[in-house]
């Protein structure tokens, strides 16, 4: 939807994008150069890398201000985006009240969200559903004004987050799937890319957040994209066993504890028919990243409300997939880099 913000709100959100861009591009690059000049042969293990980067850059103003500003922006996005959307609530609510739906929206009034999900993710006050308009606030305002121009986590400033999702959607092993289940869909940034890639498939998109699902459903109607939005947990979707021939997720795993990751893989296996495919896009393992970058990514754990980041990055995904019963497991960077990073696997044919 076109959200016309009042001048103060627009300018204040745009300012955050510029600050994050400056920190990511200028300050962080300078800090990386300082580290690389000081430590030409950095250690390999994450603990040693963390110690090496932090002790080498102790007192470096570019490093400390990059971290300070990144944290400040991460807190500030909610302080600015939620009032901005409150101010135009009438129009947003009207738009969310879909008159001519495309696909369906199934909310579960009895759903008890898992405790790990409800805490203050990404520093959002009250967590993922801490505000009834959190979905549109994040997906329309924060993405457009701050994350796209400024970068976030593994995504660098100026990179197009939607292009990356389209690139990943282009990596499905086949294009003749009949029923796709996406796990952790939020308001559909990846789902719409799957929709374009697989125009004939039925798509069920699973997500815990009601505000994200309502937003997704309204976007579907705008785009004429037929998608069934389904409120549920990725590790316990309540969808029928063997009903999908593709299960996909995009940056879901690092949002859940490692043990829940294993449950999600088991659930994906259950949902797939024999011969069905699984496609996961996540941050590339640290062995594919340089020391400075790995530490910057790992920093999210304590500093940007990503409590499970470190333990999930430590998980051996290939092994977990094999343990869950998957075969033909492979991972690679789409376009030759490390982000986006894709892992594909298949449930053995009966």
């Amino acid at each position: 939807m076109d959200m016309d913000l009042r001048q103060r709100r627009r300018a204040s959100l745009e300012f955050l994008g510029s600050v994050q861009h400056f920190a990511g591009r200028t300050l962080q690059s300078a800090a990386a150069a300082q580290y690389e000049a000081a430590v030409p042969a950095p250690p390999d293990s994450l603990d040693e890398r963390r110690e090496s980067v932090h002790s080498t850059l102790d007192g470096s103003s570019v490093w400390e201000f990059d971290r300070f500003l990144t944290r400040w922006v991460a807190e500030e996005i909610y302080v600015r985006a939620l009032p901005a959307i409150e101010e135009i609530r009438g129009g947003v609510e009207k738009w969310l009240d879909v008159a001519r739906p495309s696909g369906t929206l199934t909310l579960d009034p009895d759903l008890v969200p898992p405790a790990y999900w409800e805490h203050g993710f990404h520093l959002a006050p009250g967590g993922w559903d801490g505000h009834d308009l959190m979905g549109p606030a994040i997906s329309e305002l924060v993405f457009a004004y701050v994350l796209t121009p400024g970068g976030v986590g593994a995504v660098r400033a100026g990179e197009n987050l939607n292009d990356q999702r389209s690139q990943v959607a282009g990596e499905t092993r086949r294009t003749d799937y009949e029923h796709v289940v996406e796990l952790g869909a939020s308001s559909g940034r990846f789902t719409f890319a799957l929709r374009r890639r697989l125009p004939d498939a039925r798509i069920t998109a699973v997500e815990l957040s009601e505000s994200a699902l309502r937003h997704a459903h309204a976007l579907s109607a705008d785009k004429g994209a037929r998608i069934d939005w389904w409120q549920g947990a990725a590790e316990d979707t309540k969808l029928e066993s063997g009903s999908a021939d593709l299960v996909a997720c995009y940056t879901l795993l690092h949002e859940c504890p490692a043990e829940v990751n294993l449950q999600i893989l088991a659930e994906a296996f259950r949902l797939l028919e024999p011969g069905g495919d699984l496609m996961i896009s996540e941050i590339a393992p640290y062995e594919h990243q340089n020391a400075f970058r790995a530490v910057v990514l790992d920093w999210e754990t304590e500093n940007r409300g990503e409590p499970y980041w470190r333990e999930v990055m430590a998980l051996d995904l290939h092994r977990a997939l094999a343990d869950a019963g998957f075969v033909d497991i492979e991972s690679y960077g789409v376009g030759g880099g490390v982000y986006p990073w894709v892992t594909r696997a298949t449930k053995p044919a009966a």
Binding site: E14, F68, W72, E75, G120
Partner: protein, 101 residues
């Protein structure tokens, strides 16, 4: 409770107070930007309404009276900000000097 929780907020610049100060500066810069943005919008709307043009603002040359008025305000601003570390009696005296009955 939530990630917005102030008690668990890490500090990044060596001490909590330094971080607090830096937060105030980022907020101030943000306010400054919002005003600059608004000023640009104002100039655009005034130009569209035929009141002034950006060019007429840019090429404006203050006459003696206006120049003196601007200079006094500018000196007062510099004195307030950079004089913030001075003893209070000096600061009060200076401020009283700006009072025009």
């Amino acid at each position: 409770m939530t990630g917005g929780d102030v008690p668990n907020r890490p500090h990044y610049l060596g001490s909590d107070r330094l971080d607090d100060l830096a937060r105030m500066i980022t907020e101030l810069t943000s306010e400054l930007w919002i005003l600059k943005d608004r000023n640009m919008v104002l100039e655009k709307l005034l130009a569209e309404a035929g009141v002034v043009t950006v060019e007429s603002i840019d090429s404006y040359q203050p006459d003696a009276e206006t120049a003196a008025h601007i200079a006094a305000e500018r000196s007062a601003l510099a004195a307030r900000i950079f004089g913030a570390v001075l003893p209070n009696d000096q600061r009060l005296e200076r401020e009283l000097g700006t009072v025009h009955p």
